[in-house]
């Protein structure tokens, strides 16, 4: 045994370990690196191995007593791995030492203590304020952290929408309502642009005898009397209000509120994703840690219910088996012949083309539906006027097509991805990516088709557009866009309600009362699919962001909608769902959800910014009538500021500032990338060194034990 010394990166581990284990356990345990673990108690028979080495139990505590110089590095008592009696003894020693201090040091120690107390009390208070805390705890205990992460995300969205709605109500709606109630003076802005007579005419209220039914239709489609409320852009005045030597510029407030709403959401999401990133600790070798992660961090210690625990056992077994199978599959795949590989790649290429064509087909349908719906409702002599149900159907046609596409196409994707024979982890990722793309892109297509109708596909010379700069079929085009978003929001909620009532509850009832039917057994009980539910939420939030400029009350409606969704989803979770077979990894996905949300925000910023800077606002309605663009209001307001402020703002907005800033940021980014690269190569080098040190240690311990015998 002694002659065989294997040097190199991978020695025969079993040989070393087994031979040394018998000879010198105590020597190993005397090594300093093993003293980071402190065993408890001196009477423990079971910890005999530790006592053999004669570990002194007082090594660690003495270092922790506060010395005159070490106050700053002292770890809080709570975090020491000692038993409670030792900690209390340490605390007593610390207090004694502190009482021997004087002057400035004493004051500092006391201030630190008060600060710690304040912090813990603030933490307690904050934990009372947290919304829905007990519900989330209950869900975590019964269904696991994966599903709880969905509800956590939903709660975050509710909070964000609530604060945003406070912002909007405080700066836009409340002032307007107050000014109207108080009958204050509205100083109108002079119309700079002489407008064509036909462009200024806008009267959405119905004339003559109106049936009661039409009010309900108007409520659902946002037309008629709804257009003359604070809900839509068209109602706001383009004037300022003067009172008590203070002039409240309504258009400016409207624009800046929308702008800051988007900015505020951006900052909050970025801050939260940084926080999630720190917690999930994405490392470069994330895929390599999967087995140890599943074994050591796989059991959810918080599970208490017996059925949940059984399911957890099952899911851990399933996951480990899946991983082993995937490993075996990968090995088999690597042994494929070139011919098999070529056929597979051709198949994959064809299937990807199929996916793209499906997406293209879906988008084309959405485009057609939107154009058809707008044309049918806009033209004065359309065949659907007067038939309420048909009118409502046509109004909701874009929403219906988007929802149908989002329901059917993912199912087809699921079938296609089975044929592509990817490894399981990649399969999940690519399905998710395709679904995200489908959802967000369908909204983009809707917006593009609206844009092409409003601006006559960007052609200002078109017969419809040459009078007003935008299509005269849309006397108040911002309100039309707002209406589409409003309809999407309502329809989303409606569909969720209908699916719950007519698909999930019946499924549960059928599966419970007809357990013997083979078809039902195949279908099984509902599983709570976290990714698709999260995508629904992100879609809803993107709709809200897109419509915020045109429909100021949309954040308020969205808050209410998400609160309703919380309770509905909670109901369906408890009543209908069984926990998933394959657990959803909460931590790594939190960051992914926020990333998708950020993508939605980026997409929704584009229409808002485009409308603000490029498109001419409606001349007949809204707070920007008479201005060439919405941003003009801000430029006018800036020109009323003092000269130095004007020059500063001009400088910030000019190229002379933007280009150097961009160059500076690019240099910083390249520097950080280079730094990250050097760190990762340093880590690799250190890992190799650690391996060699381990071998050195084993060799030396062996020599010592041999020499001492």
């Amino acid at each position: 045994m002694a002659g065989k010394v294997v040097w190199g990166p991978e020695p025969t581990k079993q040989v070393w370990g087994s031979s040394l284990g018998r000879h010198s356990p105590s020597l190993f345990l005397q090594l300093p690196s093993n003293q980071t673990l402190r065993f408890r108690g001196n009477k423990a028979e079971a910890w005999g191995a530790a006592l053999e080495g004669g570990i002194e139990s007082s090594v660690v505590p003495q270092d922790c007593v506060v010395g005159e110089e070490e106050e700053e590095d002292q770890r809080p008592l709570k975090e020491l791995p000692l038993c409670l009696e030792e900690k209390r003894r340490l605390r007593f020693l610390q207090e004694q030492a502190a009482s021997r201090l004087s002057g400035w040091r004493l004051w500092r120690v006391e201030k630190q203590r008060t600060l710690r107390h304040l912090r813990s009390q603030a933490g307690t208070v904050m934990s009372y304020v947290v919304m829905w805390k007990s519900t989330l705890r209950h869900i975590e205990g019964h269904f696991g952290t994966g599903i709880q992460s969905y509800f956590n995300f939903l709660r975050f969205l509710v909070l964000m929408n609530f604060v945003a709605s406070l912002l909007v109500v405080g700066f836009v709606i409340a002032p307007n309502a107050a000014f109207e109630a108080l009958h204050l003076n509205w100083t109108g802005r002079p119309n700079n642009v002489s407008a064509n007579a036909s462009c200024v005419h806008y009267d959405p209220s119905a004339h003559g005898l109106v049936s009661y039914f039409s009010y309900i239709m108007d409520l659902l489609s946002g037309k008629g009397f709804m257009e003359l409320t604070y809900l839509f852009y068209g109602y706001y005045q383009n004037s300022a209000v003067d009172f008590a030597s203070f002039s409240y510029n309504v258009p400016l407030a409207y624009l800046l509120t929308a702008f800051f709403y988007l900015l505020f959401c951006l900052i909050w999401i970025v801050q939260r994703s940084v926080y999630c990133l720190k917690h999930s600790l994405v490392s470069e070798d994330a895929s390599l840690g999967s087995y140890s992660n599943k074994v050591f961090a796989g059991w959810d210690f918080g599970l208490m219910q017996h059925s949940a625990v059984q399911l957890k056992h099952k899911s851990i077994r399933y996951e480990l088996r899946m991983d082993l199978e995937e490993e075996a599959l990968r090995r088999r795949l690597a042994e494929r012949t070139t011919r098999q590989r070529a056929t597979l790649y051709i198949l994959r290429g064809l299937l990807n083309l199929l996916v793209l064509s499906l997406l293209g087909g879906g988008f084309f349908c959405i485009y057609l539906a939107t154009s058809y719906s707008q044309w049918l409702l806009g033209s004065a002599d359309s065949p659907v006027k007067g038939q309420y149900i048909l009118e409502l159907l046509v109004a909701y046609l874009p929403s219906i097509v988007i929802t149908v596409a989002n329901l059917l196409i993912p199912i087809i994707f699921g079938v296609i991805v089975q044929l592509e024979k990817y490894p399981l982890s990649f399969e999940i990722k690519i399905t998710l990516l395709r679904n995200v793309f489908l959802r967000l892109a369908s909204l983009v297509v809707l917006l593009i088709s609206l844009w092409s109708q409003i601006t006559c596909s960007g052609d200002p010379k078109d017969s419809n557009c040459k009078d007003c700069g935008y299509s005269h079929l849309f006397p108040c085009w911002e309100t039309s866009v707002g209406q589409e978003m409003y309809k999407l929001l309502i329809f989303d909620l409606l569909i969720m309600l209908l699916v719950m009532l007519f698909v999930e509850f019946p499924r549960k009832i059928l599966v419970t009362y007809l357990p013997s039917c083979p078809l039902l057994k195949l279908w099984g009980q509902q599983e709570f699919m976290v990714p698709s539910n999260v995508l629904d939420l992100v879609y809803g939030q993107t709709v809200c962001w897109t419509g915020a400029l045109f429909c100021p009350l949309l954040p308020v409606l969205n808050t209410l909608k998400y609160i309703m969704i919380f309770y509905l989803k909670k109901l369906t979770l408890y009543a209908n769902c069984r926990p998933a077979e394959r657990t959803f990894r909460a931590s790594s996905s939190n960051f992914f959800f926020l990333l998708v949300l950020l993508m939605g925000l980026t997409i929704s910023c584009v229409p808002a910014l485009y409308s603000m800077f490029v498109l001419p606002p409606s001349k007949s309605c809204g707070p920007f009538r008479g201005e060439p663009t919405m941003w003009n209001t801000v430029s006018n307001a800036i020109s009323e500021l003092p000269l130095t402020a004007q020059e500063f703002l001009e400088f910030v907005g000019s190229l002379a500032f933007a280009v150097p800033l961009f160059l500076l940021l690019s240099i910083l980014m390249f520097y950080l990338m280079a730094l990250a690269g050097s760190y990762s190569s340093m880590v690799k080098g250190l890992k190799g060194q650690l391996r060699l040190e381990g071998q050195d240690k084993l060799f030396l311990v062996k020599q010592i034990s041999e020499l001492s015998q």
Partner: protein
């Protein structure tokens, strides 16, 4: 608020607050839970730090621990006498480490103790096999168990000694994103 409790002195409660991750209210609640496990043995007056320990059987029947496959190991890791008997101090310590606010490093130390079945300060192959069997209720085949254990040691063993020492374990835990959220008991 609520200065009328007679179980602990204020000094003791302050000490508990400093030494654990619980507030005064939670410590009193924990005492209530400890007391209801054995109302005859646990005194209501802790002002003089009585030496009362409860046997493991009572502790592992708590609803929070009952369904946990590692319940005996958890109680043993926090027991001062090594046999699983917990005094109130150990009880509080246990739930403090398993609470939400305890840091990763502290949890890693105790997790290592929990998974070290033969208490030799290393997680060797037999420890891993026992862990796996507890996790899957012994329904994986021998071959699968061996394969998974080999993979875990491959992934985590940095100094190539065939078993996981505490530095290996801690390094692996720092890369395990789920650890903080799963190694957590609410009480």
């Amino acid at each position: 608020m609520g200065n009328k409790q007679t179980i602990f002195t204020d000094e003791q409660l302050d000490a508990y607050q400093d030494c654990t991750f619980f507030t005064r209210k939670e410590i009193l609640r924990l005492h209530g839970r400890y007391h209801e496990l054995a109302p005859n043995m646990v005194p209501m007056d802790y002002k003089r730090d009585p030496c009362v320990t409860l046997p493991m059987q009572l502790i592992v029947n708590m609803p929070e621990l009952k369904e946990n496959p590692f319940k005996e190991r958890i109680v043993q890791a926090f027991s001062e006498d090594g046999e699983g008997n917990l005094s109130f101090n150990d009880f509080v310590d246990m739930f403090s480490v398993l609470s939400e606010t305890a840091p990763r490093e502290l949890k890693a130390i105790y997790a290592f103790k929990i998974y070290d079945f033969n208490t030799d300060n290393f997680i060797c192959k037999s420890d891993l096999e026992q862990t796996l069997n507890k996790l899957t209720k012994e329904e994986l085949t021998e071959e699968e168990v061996t394969l998974v254990c080999e993979k875990v040691i491959d992934e985590a063993d940095m100094d190539a000694d065939g078993k996981l020492g505490f530095p290996d374990f801690e390094n692996m835990i720092s890369k395990a994103p789920d650890f903080l959220s799963t190694f957590h008991i609410r009480i």
